[in-house]
């Protein structure tokens, strides 16, 4: 922006590897992965029967998550099958959003062609990252539906030939709705975190003292909320995808209502 605020919609390039561009959000995602790996090694490497404080906290977090997944899916077997994916999405987005508030962001810069490029940049402010997460989630949803119900039965949710014209239109709408999830998943996470970052930057340029602190706390809450929403929506859509399709009579009833 002209007034000196450094806002960039796309991630900036900090280098290249075998001709592939490396952007600063990629560097930060690897930082998040290293952080999670270290956490996993430290906590998982010394499991005890009588848990210490850290192990207790981590166990409580995962027991809460597992309880929620089990309650939503309605059986422990299904919960055990889908919990790793849901928990990974949640933990990754949560860590990425929380690390955004470390002071290393925006302070370490590389000089590239006379321009200062920040070495670290918040992961969720790159549409590529959120789109990748959305694609993972989308593929997992569709595949879980296909593997649970079979191709024909799952496909009959979208190409409905038994319910008459109305049923066919409803099936088409369902197909469009499924595809639109890609957009809504990726734009929701990207938009929330990017808007928060711009808000903090603008407030920081108007009132640099004290006022950004409660807003930062609010943005941390938003980060937690968005991570939870991403995981909960994936879970809810998986639940919908593995549910049996309506029979012709019940879908006619639904259409009649």
């Amino acid at each position: 922006m002209e007034s000196g605020l450094h806002i960039s919609l796309a991630a900036e390039r900090v280098g290249s590897l075998f001709g592939l561009p490396i952007t600063n959000t990629v560097v930060t995602s690897w930082l998040v992965i290293v952080f999670l790996l270290l956490g996993a090694i430290i906590v998982g490497g010394r499991l005890k029967l009588l848990p210490g404080k850290i192990q207790n906290a981590v166990e409580m977090l995962f027991e809460y998550l597992f309880g929620h997944v089990e309650q939503t899916l309605g059986s422990e077997k299904l919960a055990k099958r889908y919990f790793p994916l849901i928990a990974t999405i949640f933990v990754f987005i949560l860590t990425a959003n929380m690390l955004d508030f470390l002071p290393i962001f925006g302070t370490f810069t590389l000089v590239e062609g006379g321009e200062h490029v920040p070495l670290f940049h918040a992961v969720s402010t790159d549409l590529n990252t959120t789109l990748a997460l959305a694609i993972i989630s989308f593929v997992a949803i569709e595949l879980s539906g296909i593997f649970t119900l079979g191709v024909l039965k799952y496909g009959s949710k979208f190409v409905n030939v038994h319910g008459g014209a109305m049923g066919f239109i409803v099936g088409l709408l369902e197909l469009i709705g499924n595809l639109a999830r890609l957009v809504s998943f990726s734009f929701r996470l990207f938009g929330a975190i990017f808007a928060g970052e711009v808000l903090l930057m603008v407030i920081g340029s108007f009132v640099p003292l004290l006022l950004p602190v409660p807003l930062m706390a609010f943005e941390m809450f938003i980060g937690l909320l968005q991570a939870g929403i991403f995981a909960i929506l994936t879970l809810a859509f998986i639940k919908i995808a593995i549910a049996e399709p309506h029979t012709s009579t019940s879908s006619a009833q639904v259409a009649a209502h």
Partner: protein, 75 residues
């Protein structure tokens, strides 16, 4: 009109108009959820979870407007 002026105005209009609908929607949604919790406090956890999913789905419309505003302004 200068293109920069047009972009700034367009972003303001997009965001301003875009958040009206989700604002009304969120008000209705949370209001109804609170009513339901008031009537049946035992069902509060279930209602809250559903409410958050509903909030996320409504919320994304406002975020679409903001993202499109940013795209207009900064590209």
């Amino acid at each position: 009109m200068d293109i920069e002026v047009a972009k700034t105005l367009a972003m303001a209009i997009v965001v301003g108009l875009g958040v009206i609908g989700p604002g009304i929607g969120l008000g209705l949604l949370v209001g109804k959820a609170l009513e339901a919790i008031g009537r049946n406090p035992e069902a509060a956890p279930l209602i809250q979870t559903t409410m958050y999913v509903g909030i996320a789905v409504t919320d994304v419309l406002a975020i679409f407007a903001v993202v499109i505003g940013f795209i207009i302004k900064f590209t």
